[in-house]
Structure formats: structure tokens, C-alpha cells
């Protein structure tokens, strides 16, 4: 019988797994863990179908599932270090997806990642491969330097929306236009998480942020930038796709896109960039599961999901 296994001390009590479980297997505990959070307990093990939804949505790799005698383990693509992200922050989910792709593609020993400045500045502690930290916005220039110097390496950057689409926009457009054979993981959470919730180039019209307390006024600040559509207009072949990580189905699709993006690089085909529509429960002032709903209702209509450009199409 399949069973969720909770590593309770990794848990930050975000309750995303409880909300994701279609069968009501999990409930939150009455006691707290070492970090001071309530954690899920397997209240109705008999109802578990082994769908792994709890595992997929957990941002802190605190849930594993035992099914058919096999237990999932934290991917080798990640170090054992627990993430520092806020409870329910989808940075953790995206880290896991990238780590899993690195492991499954067998490229860990020849991969170099570039961490941005933003909430994921410490990403170099989490990816279990060689890593380089970069200054704010310059990750793609750093990745270019690595890849041009050592073309046999698999090079990826992991960047937030402020990092990639504001201060680093020139580096973004030109890396894409040169067709650098790198893979970019672009975390669009519509806000500057790290510095305390200021307006990002991707903040939605009317969305409140600490530097637009009355909501983004498009007459004053312009419209949010749709990065993949912007890059799509470049003539250079690329793989550009937009995915989301607010529910299990989309998380699985996100992983497929990230994997494909790495594959294009491994095969020497093109530049690839995956825009991951994400949540920032802290910056948005919402509970993690509310943030996932807000994402679905507000972000997806403005940031439509799916492949935006395939290298084959540009030939």
C-alpha cells in the first residue's frame, strides 16, 4: 500500500501537501517540529492512492512516497542542505525540479549553475554541482563566460524577475540573441521577494507591492513585461516556454519543459529559457495555498502557459 513519509524536521508547515491531496490522507499535527512548525501527519493511510501530489507540491522536500516497495529520496541533483525559503515558497519546488533533471540526465558532474541576486542567492548551496554566484542581473553574462570558456560543460542560470527582466534585461536579450547554449530558469513571482516585496517588471496591473502601495498603475510604471514573448521576437533559434508550479499537474509539465531545455543544450541546439510562474506568499501577503489560487486566477491569464518558441520552428 502506498504511503506518504514525512521528514517532519524539514517541514515548514505550509500545508500545501494537505491542500494538494485529493483523498484527504494528510492532516496537520497538533504538536510542532524542531523548527517550530506544525507538520502533516498521515491521518488516513488507507485512502492513499500513491498519486504523489503531496511530494510534488512540497517546497521543502519533506514528503516522500513509498509505493511498490520503493521510496523516493531527495534527488542527487540537490545537496542535503535544507532550503532557507519562506514556508510555501515555490523556489523550493523549482529547485527540486532542476535538481531532478540534472540527476536524470546524468549531467551533474559536468554542470555549472549560476545563482542570481534575489531570494535564490544561496542557490549555490543547494544544487549539487559546481556553482558560481553572480552580481545582480548578470547571471547570463557569467554563464556566457563559463560556456564560451568550457563548451563541454552544461551551464544554467537560475534568476528571479527583478534580476532577469529589470536590472539584467540587456544581458538577457543579448544572451538569447547570441544563441548562447545555456539553460535559463526564470522564476517569475511578480515581485522583488528578497528586498521586501517591491514592484517587479512583472508585477501585475493593480497588484499591490511595497513601492506601488495603491497597485501597479500601468500609466505610470508601464505594463508587466512578458519575457518569453519578448524574446520570441528575436530571429535566433531558441527554446522558450512558460510553465507554472502552483499545482501537481503544472509541476509535472514544468519538469518536462526544464528537462527539454537542458536537452537542447546538451545536444548543442540552442539557447533555452523556461519562465516559471511562481508564488511569493510572503511578498504577496497570502497563505501559501491562497497564493497558488491567486497565481492561477491572476497570473495565468496575463502569462499564458505553453511553449512559445521551438528551435525547429525558427529554421
Amino acid at each position: 500500500m502506498p504511503t506518504p513519509i514525512i521528514t517532519k524536521d524539514l517541514c515548514k508547515g505550509c500545508e500545501l501537501c494537505v491542500h494538494a491531496c485529493p483523498e484527504g490522507v494528510l492532516e496537520m499535527s497538533k504538536e510542532i517540529n524542531a523548527k517550530g512548525y506544525f507538520f502533516p501527519v498521515v491521518a488516513h493511510p488507507e485512502k492513499c492512492t500513491g498519486c504523489r501530489f503531496c511530494l510534488l507540491v512540497c517546497p521543502d522536500t519533506a514528503v516522500q512516497v513509498e509505493a511498490k516497495g520503493k521510496t523516493t529520496v531527495r534527488t542527487e541533483g540537490l545537496t542535503p542542505k535544507p532550503f532557507h525559503y519562506c514556508p510555501g515558497c515555490t523556489h523550493g519546488v523549482i529547485h527540486r525540479l532542476v535538481g531532478e533533471c540534472i540527476e536524470e540526465l546524468g549531467i551533474r558532474e559536468r554542470t555549472v549553475g549560476v545563482a542570481p541576486v534575489g531570494c535564490s542567492v544561496l542557490a549555490y548551496d543547494y544544487f549539487n554541482c559546481d556553482m558560481s554566484q553572480a552580481s545582480h542581473g548578470r547571471a547570463m553574462a557569467v554563464a556566457t563566460g563559463i560556456k564560451r570558456g568550457r563548451p563541454n560543460l552544461v551551464v544554467f542560470s537560475y534568476q528571479g524577475d527583478g534580476d532577469l527582466a529589470s536590472i539584467g534585461m540587456a544581458e538577457t536579450v543579448h544572451a538569447a540573441n547570441r544563441g548562447e547554449k545555456i539553460t535559463v530558469i526564470f522564476v517569475n513571482n511578480a515581485i522583488y521577494g528578497m528586498t521586501g516585496g517591491q514592484m517587479a517588471p512583472t508585477t501585475l496591473p493593480g497588484q499591490v507591492a511595497s513601492t506601488c502601495p495603491l497597485g501597479r498603475d500601468v500609466n505610470h510604471a508601464g505594463w508587466p513585461i512578458r519575457v518569453v514573448e519578448l524574446l520570441q521576437s528575436l530571429r535566433t533559434p531558441a527554446y522558450l516556454s512558460r510553465v507554472a508550479v502552483h499545482d501537481p499537474k503544472n509541476i509535472l509539465a514544468a519538469k518536462r519543459a526544464i528537462r527539454k531545455a537542458f536537452k537542447y543544450q546538451i545536444d548543442g541546439v540552442c539557447f533555452s529559457l523556461i519562465e516559471v510562474v511562481s508564488t511569493c506568499p510572503t511578498g504577496w501577503g497570502q497563505q501559501p495555498h491562497e497564493a497558488c489560487e491567486w497565481l492561477e486566477q491572476n497570473m495565468i491569464p496575463y502569462y499564458p502557459l505553453g511553449d512559445v518558441k521551438l528551435p525547429e520552428a525558427a529554421a
Binding site: V112, D130, M131, Q133, R138, T144, G149, L153
Partner: protein
Amino acid sequence: MAKKLMKGCEAIGEAAIHAGCRLFFGYPITPQNEIPEYMSARLPQVGGVFLQAESEVAASNMLYGAAGAGCRVFTSSSSPGISLMAEAISYIAGAELPVVIVNIMRGGPGLGGILPSQSDYFQATKGGGHGDYRVLVLAPSTVQEAADLTQDAFDLADHYRNPVMVVGDGLIGQMMEPVEFKRSISPEELPAKPWATTGCSDRKPNIINSLFLNPEELEAHNWHLHRKYQDMAREIRWESWKLEEPVDVLIVAYGTVARICKTAIDTLRARGVKVGLFRPISLFPYPSEQLSQAVEKAGKVLVTELSTGQMLEDVQAIVAGRKPVSFYGRVGGMVMSPEEIEREVDKLVAS
């Protein structure tokens, strides 16, 4: 190897190749365009990569990435471009990466002009970007020396894991002189860099980083860097010219200005004026002790630069009131003639 007539900029580019450098990232700016142009033609011939970046900001961060991946890499620019690189140079110093940066200085501030200048002395020798860091700064005064120092710069950068800057001006960049490349090394012969991001197939992952959130760790890192900068004292380079006997006037000048001073000194000496030259070649670390000793045997000191008085401040601190220090500067791309130097020396001797 036979001597070859080359422009300063081309000699710098060729020297980098002889130093085993196969990567150049840069952005066009006058008066140093001959360096990227030369590299764009030469590097592909030796299996290297030349990439024109979208800006100096990007170019310097490409340097950071490539240096972090263990490659010898260099860039060249001129004053406004170096200002844009200041952020990356700070990160490169913080992450302790070896890179070589050439600054063919032009007049400023702002867009300034394109003619020769030494007005980036403070920027080069005192850090330039944010944080407590230094780069090793070398100032050639001939094309041969530009080639030699560029080659040395790569070794010094690797040894100290620190940026090394070669500063010149439009005169040295454009001037044609015979040059000889005294040694040559291929990238394969260079020592391994076990700390670099080359892929973690036989070891734990390497991390290139300048972030230390723990203040105690950051303090320790800063003192570690400080000790490294002090160790660089071993690399001090200078030239004493006609200073065997005591002099009435000691001229202190570097780079192309020192050449002009030598011409003036020849004329002055022919007239019986006792004058000599102290030429710092490493501007950081500065040859303070050596200058201090030369000052002991001099009546007066004359500092002359293509600035309104930047190196002057260092010389004043070294002289420390022992002898009168006067200054003669030209700026904005205007360059002093030997006659102007003679006139300044004559004034000092007469006063």
C-alpha cells in the same frame, strides 16, 4: 624570437596569446579598439574565442564566469568602460578570480575626450568599485614593456587570484615600436586550478562566490584579502634613471609621461642641471620605500602627471614633508612637451 614592429595595442593582444590566454570579451571604445580588433582576428587562428559583448558590464561579467571556470581571460577598455566594469571587478576581487584588464586611459570626467590621460590613477590604485579591495596595477612606458607586463599580468593574476590591471594611454596604444615576445606558453601547459568550476566529476562541487552573510566570516575574508594585498609588495617594480648621484630635482612620473621626462632630463643634464627620474612601474603596490630613499638624495621633488594631481597625493604622503614637492599636470588630452618639463625644473632650481 625576432623583433617585430608593432602598435602598442597589438603588442598587448599578442602578449596575451603568448601568455596562453584564449578568451577575450570586450566592448568597443576609443582609444583601444585595436586590441579587440586584433583579438577578433587572432584568437580564432589559435583556437580561441573572441566575443563582442553588449556592454562593458556584460564583458566584465563574462570575464568573471570564464575566470571562475579556470580559463585565462582578458579584456581591454578605456576610462568610461572601466567605470562600468567597476562592479564586476569588485566581485572578481571578492571571489578571488584571476583576470587581466587593460585600461587605455582617456580624459574625463564623463565622456571626456579620447586623447591620452592618466586621470584614472585613483580609480585603478584605490579600488575603483565598492568594498575593501585592490587590484595590482602595472604602468608600461614602452611598447616592449607593455608586452612584457601584459604577459606578467596573467602570471600575477593566477598567483594572487586577483585582477591585474595594465594602465596605458592613447600614446602607448598607438605608438609603433619594435617588440619581442620573450616567452610563450600554451593553455595546456598552465598550472591546474583545482578551485575552478570545471565540473565536479572527481571531487566535491566548487563554488565561486563573494557573499558572506556571517559578519565574522566576512571580516575574516577581508583580512585575508588585505594580507594578500600586502604580500603583493613582492611585486613592486620601478625604474631609477640618472639617480646614481644626488640630484637637485627628482622628477616622479609614470607611463608615457616618464618618456617625455627622460627627453627633458637629457637636455637639462647637457646644460649641467642635476636632475633624475623615479618611475613607478607598479602603481599598486607602490614603490614607496624605493621612492623614499631616492627622495633622501634629492633637493626638491617634482611630480608630473596627465591629471590634476592624483599620484601626487601618494608621493606627498611618502615624502612626508621632508622635501618640497611641486606639481606639473596637463589634462583633457593635452600632453606636456619636454620643454614644459625643462621650464618647471629650471624654475625649481632657480627658486
